[in-house]
């Protein structure tokens, strides 16, 4: 745990639980002393204690780098598998597309590099499951070539946010 979290722990420890008001102590004391008055059918709700600890192991904590790399790899594969999808490639650089479309450049190579991946902390989805929010910044480098051998290189910076489930069960 880093220093900031340790400081927060110390801050939390400085909070003292509110004491039981006098009236509430008296009520609890009276109830405990008069336990015979309680309904006898409550017994079935008592849980066995102590309980045999289940040997469950916590989930693995995969680094977000591997997830980021997986996202980048997936994107690269998709881009290469669909080389004929001109509209996709044109979206990357619309201004460039408008200048060169007439001379029929075709994509010949695509390369994707992760520039940076940063952990943006813990977030909870609507079902209260924790996820790490990871910002992945990468650059797509696309090469195009036309019939006369002219090359066109396009670099497209991309930022993705990836949610990686955190295993706590």
């Amino acid at each position: 745990m880093d220093g900031e979290l340790e400081q927060l722990e110390e801050d939390l420890e400085r909070l003292a639980p509110a004491g039981m008001p006098e009236g509430l102590i008296s009520r609890m004391e009276a109830a405990m002393a008069g336990w015979q008055d309680a309904a006898s059918d409550e017994e079935e709700k008592v849980v066995p204690f102590p309980k045999v600890e289940e040997e469950r192991q916590g989930g693995s904590s995969r680094g977000f780098w591997s997830a980021a790399a997986a996202v980048a790899l997936f994107g690269a594969v998709v881009a290469l598998v669909l080389p004929d999808n001109k509209s996709k490639n044109e979206v990357a650089a619309p201004a460039v597309e408008s200048n060169y479309a007439a001379v029929s450049f075709a994509p010949t190579n695509m390369d994707r590099n992760i520039v940076q991946a940063s952990d943006r902390g813990l977030v909870f989805t609507s079902d209260d499951r924790p996820h790490r929010l990871v910002r992945v910044q990468y650059v797509d480098r696309l090469e195009y070539r036309n019939a006369v051998g002219a090359e066109l290189h396009v670099e497209k910076p991309i930022v993705n946010f990836v949610l990686i489930p955190v295993e706590t069960d």
């Binding site: 939390l12 004491g19 009520r27 004391e29 405990m32 916590g58």
Partner: protein, 188 residues
């Protein structure tokens, strides 16, 4: 539906009283964390305490006095789950009324003492803790204010020690994020 008992507060203190004065605050905090309303917290705490008293006085409690607190945390949680189920069924019938009660009680249900500690920050931390998903806040409450080990917490919550530890770590991290957001908003 708080119970009353014929034993008056002014009667001779029972052996339980000193023990309640020492430990009652921690137990009440956990009961508040486990329930939605202050009244419910008191009820589940009372139910748990009565079960402890019965077992101890009948001589069937397994373990010494050091085992009372783990037993009570387990029992409070079970009572809170049962109460929550009953309330859910009632809520379907009385949705609007229950909602109004919840809103009315939330403002006075303070979990922590006032102290020399910076009040505004204290209040923000309490609110952040209340907003955490329950499975994280219950581990934090038991670790920090009940002084339980992760092994004990795991036993009480019926989860592994590793799960308890990871919930604690992620819970504290989420708290930090909430507080950082509050700082950015200017609430702190």
């Amino acid at each position: 539906m708080s119970r009353t008992n014929s034993m008056a507060a002014s009667a001779t203190p029972t052996p339980w009283r000193a023990w309640l004065e020492e430990h009652g605050g921690k137990l009440l905090l956990f009961a508040r964390q486990q329930t939605r309303r202050a009244g419910d917290a008191e009820d589940v705490l009372q139910e748990a305490l009565v079960k402890l008293a019965k077992k101890v006085e009948l001589g069937v409690f397994v373990g010494g006095q050091e085992a009372w607190m783990p037993f009570l945390y387990t029992q409070i949680r079970r009572e809170a789950i049962d109460l929550g189920r009953r309330n859910d069924r009632r809520k379907k019938r009385e949705d609007a009324v229950v909602g109004d009660e919840l809103i009315a009680e939330t403002g006075t249900d303070r979990w922590f003492e006032g102290s020399g500690y910076e009040e505004e920050r204290k209040a923000m931390m309490e609110e952040a803790l209340k907003e955490l998903p329950k499975k994280f806040s219950e581990v934090i409450v038991m670790k920090i204010w009940a002084g339980r080990t992760f092994a004990e917490i795991g036993e009480i919550l019926d989860i592994s020690m590793n799960t308890a530890a990871s919930r604690y770590r992620y819970g504290v991290e989420a708290l930090r994020k909430q507080l950082a957001a509050a700082r950015i908003r200017g609430d702190l």
